[in-house]
């Protein structure tokens, strides 16, 4: 195939590269800004599927790699917290086929609950991490990640950030498409069974692999040096590189494509060739600290730049050491629940009954804003249930009886099931009430299907998990399914009754998201995208 140039977002470029590498499976859980990778992979003919959560996604990916196939596992930054358990031990087991773990960080929190910098995970889990700075590199580095993963038999992390995921630029798709391959099973018990006797040598092997990677040609080509003025040298990676090139066109620049393991030799050589060397990075002072720990003196950014995204103007200030506060951008229109959104009625009821609402993450988190003011805690996906059960243990009885958990259907399948197990097993003296807002989609991240919608990622019909039956089977005392928009009186009466009792109860507020209804109508007309 002749190379072909088109405009792609970073997410789309990764998907195109995954297709070229012949991945057997793309698997993940939706989360801004990573969601479009699997959606695009499916659209261009690759096999892609949504797992119930990121941990399961990575475990499925592990199996693909153990079998010898290639996989890309996608998630947003906080998804890696959920998947961290398999991640750390997969570093020990290694893999036969390529496992690429794409994590999309969100500095500036365009749509996230924290700004965690996942480069720290690469260091903690001892895995190589590549960081593309635009869509072309997203494409190229996905291919490099597959090569490194298979050569060194280790999962590779591909770290993107919101601006790399969602910005578009011209991409040269230079690699011909390969078909996925299947393999004979190969027994490798000492590599794949992590009991202490096998894990001890595996840890030693891992440290050794990381040293080999740091010394390899594959890693060293990813450190790109651009010699400019000797007065100012800048070390950077990812999107920061683009801002640096615009802010300081004359500076010497060292762009690290591989940010872990740190390649200290090219860094030393670069630093020795410039009078002043500044590390420009978003998020934590990860590179600066690693370089200094290796005994090379570089300037780290001021604490003021730990927060938010960088930009051309912020990079100028960072290099000048200027920490004066920046003019706040004018606030745009805040998001709100769509007019006609079924969540509205559910929240109006909880507000009018003066409930203490332990919330979760989804469109419905907007229930915390006026006119509802009906969500009082939000931590992470699935936390609504555990947090509420804890509240009921520490509040005085009249307040404990006002505590309600609220969770969406996608979040329930992601991490609500274990919360229900806790509720049924360690039931508080006052019982508890969980409201599942079942709008038949993952609306927040752009209407993705999940294990309880009855459709696959590509919209074909799938087995549908019956949430009501699951809750009953788990031993919940009362499970009611209700459309809170048409049976509002009944909803109010039920909430009151359940809160007054000492039972553990679930109300499933069931009515599809209005945008999901539109999407399905469009799909049925054959206009599926």
């Amino acid at each position: 195939m002749a190379s072909e140039k088109i405009i792609l977002s970073g997410d789309e470029a990764v998907a195109e590269a995954a297709l070229c590498c012949g991945v057997n499976l793309g698997v993940g859980y939706p989360g801004t800004p990573s969601t479009e990778v699997l959606e695009h992979l499916s659209k261009i003919g690759g096999k892609a599927q949504w797992a119930p959560n990121e941990k399961v996604a990575l475990e499925v990916g592990a199996g693909v790699g153990f079998g010898g196939g290639r996989t890309i596992v996608t998630m947003k930054h906080v998804g890696l917290n959920v998947a961290a358990d398999p991640l750390f031990t997969l570093a020990y087991t290694g893999t036969k086929g390529a496992i690429v773990v794409l994590v999309a960080d969100d500095p500036g929190m365009a749509s996230s609950q924290n700004e965690q910098d996942n480069r720290n995970y690469a260091k903690a889990a001892k895995l190589p991490m590549l960081e593309p700075s635009d869509s072309q590199e997203a494409y190229d580095f996905m291919i490099r990640a597959v090569e490194i993963s298979e050569k060194f038999q280790i999962p590779v992390m591909l770290r993107m950030t919101t601006r790399v995921c969602h910005s578009k630029c011209i991409v040269d798709r230079w690699k011909p498409v390969e078909q996925p391959k299947v393999f004979d099973f190969e027994l490798a018990v000492k590599e794949r069974v992590m009991v202490p006797a096998f894990a001890k040598p595996a840890h030693v092997r891992l440290e050794d692999k990381m040293k080999q990677i740091a010394a390899s040609a594959e890693a060293n080509v990813l450190a790109q040096k651009e010699t400019g003025s000797a007065d100012l040298g800048i070390i950077c990676s990812g999107i920061s590189y683009q801002h640096v090139k615009e802010a300081f066109p004359e500076a010497s620049v060292l762009k690290l494509g591989l940010t872990w393991p740190l390649l200290i030799e090219p860094v030393k050589e670069f630093v020795s060739g410039v009078k002043r060397c500044v590390v420009v990075e978003e998020g934590d002072k990860f590179l600066a600290e690693a370089i200094r720990a290796a005994g090379v003196e570089v300037e780290a950014k001021a604490d003021a730049f730990l927060f938010g995204e960088l930009s051309v103007s912020r990079v100028k200030k960072l290099v000048a050491g200027d920490t004066t506060p920046e003019p706040a951008a004018a606030p745009g229109r805040p998001p709100q629940l769509c007019p006609g959104c079924p969540h509205r009625k559910s929240f109006e009821g909880l507000r009018d009954l003066n409930c203490i609402v332990s919330g979760d993450i989804g469109c419905y988190t907007l229930g915390t804003l006026p006119p509802f003011n009906a969500m009082h805690t939000t931590v992470c996906m699935g936390a609504s249930i555990g947090v509420a059960l804890g509240l009921r243990r520490s509040l005085k009885e009249e307040d404990a009886r006002r505590v309600v958990s609220v969770i969406g259907d996608s979040t329930f399948m992601h991490s609500g099931l274990t919360g229900v197990a806790e509720m049924v097993y360690n039931r508080p003296a006052t019982g508890h009430l969980l409201v599942i807002l079942d709008n038949s989609t993952t609306a927040m991240t752009g209407l993705q299907e999940h294990s309880a919608t009855g459709r696959y990622l590509n919209m074909e019909p799938a087995n549908q998990i019956n949430i009501e039956a699951v809750c009953r089977a788990m031993g919940v005392d009362h499970v009611d399914v209700i459309d809170t928009t048409v049976e509002h009186e009944r909803y109010m009466a039920l909430v009151k009754e359940r809160l007054a009792s000492n039972d553990v109860s679930i109300i499933i507020a069931k009515r599809p998201c209005i945008l999901q209804i539109k999407k399905l109508a469009k799909f049925q007309k054959g206009g599926a995208k």
Partner: protein, 157 residues
């Protein structure tokens, strides 16, 4: 380098077609032979929040984000977004709001009509524009959008 790059900022409300307008301009710039980068902020746009798209094109573009104060054109589909974008403009920025269209109401083609108004300044090849619109919009929608583009362009001249 900054004037070798043209910076167009689009702003509006979720659902108005800001992302499509910025995608079309990016594709257009690409077809005209420029390097191009596009970036967008669309947090939770389904719920009527502010949406913006930065398109930058020229010989070589690095950052995908328009630096504060450096928009050459600000195209808003909802008047109140002019205020939201005030830190992005300078005294030479051309600001285009739906008011430039006068009594022409393009309905759902507002985004394309505003691309026409923008092209009065950018002067990119109209045949390439029309080809692009025909690829993007099917059937009679293509002609409706081409007409909206032309009315938009004419209203600024």
């Amino acid at each position: 380098m900054s004037k070798a790059v043209t910076n167009v900022l689009f702003a509006g409300i979720g659902g108005q077609g800001i992302i499509l307008a910025s995608d079309l301009l990016s594709e257009m710039a690409f077809r005209c032979g420029f390097d191009v980068k596009k970036s967008e902020i669309h947090g939770m746009s389904q719920r009527g929040g502010s949406v913006s798209g930065d398109v930058r094109f020229g010989e070589k573009v690095y950052s995908p984000m328009i630096p504060a104060g450096e928009a050459d054109y600000l195209v808003v589909l909802s008047e109140d977004q002019v205020e939201v974008c005030k830190n992005m403009v300078n005294e030479n920025t051309v600001i285009l709001t739906p008011a430039v269209l006068g009594d022409f109401d393009p309905g759902k083609s507002l985004n394309v009509a505003m691309l026409g108004a923008l092209n009065a300044g950018l002067k990119l090849d109209k045949e390439i524009w029309f080809g692009l619109l025909r690829e993007h919009f099917k059937g009679e929608l293509a002609e409706i959008n081409i007409a909206a583009f032309e009315r938009g362009e004419a209203s600024v001249k």
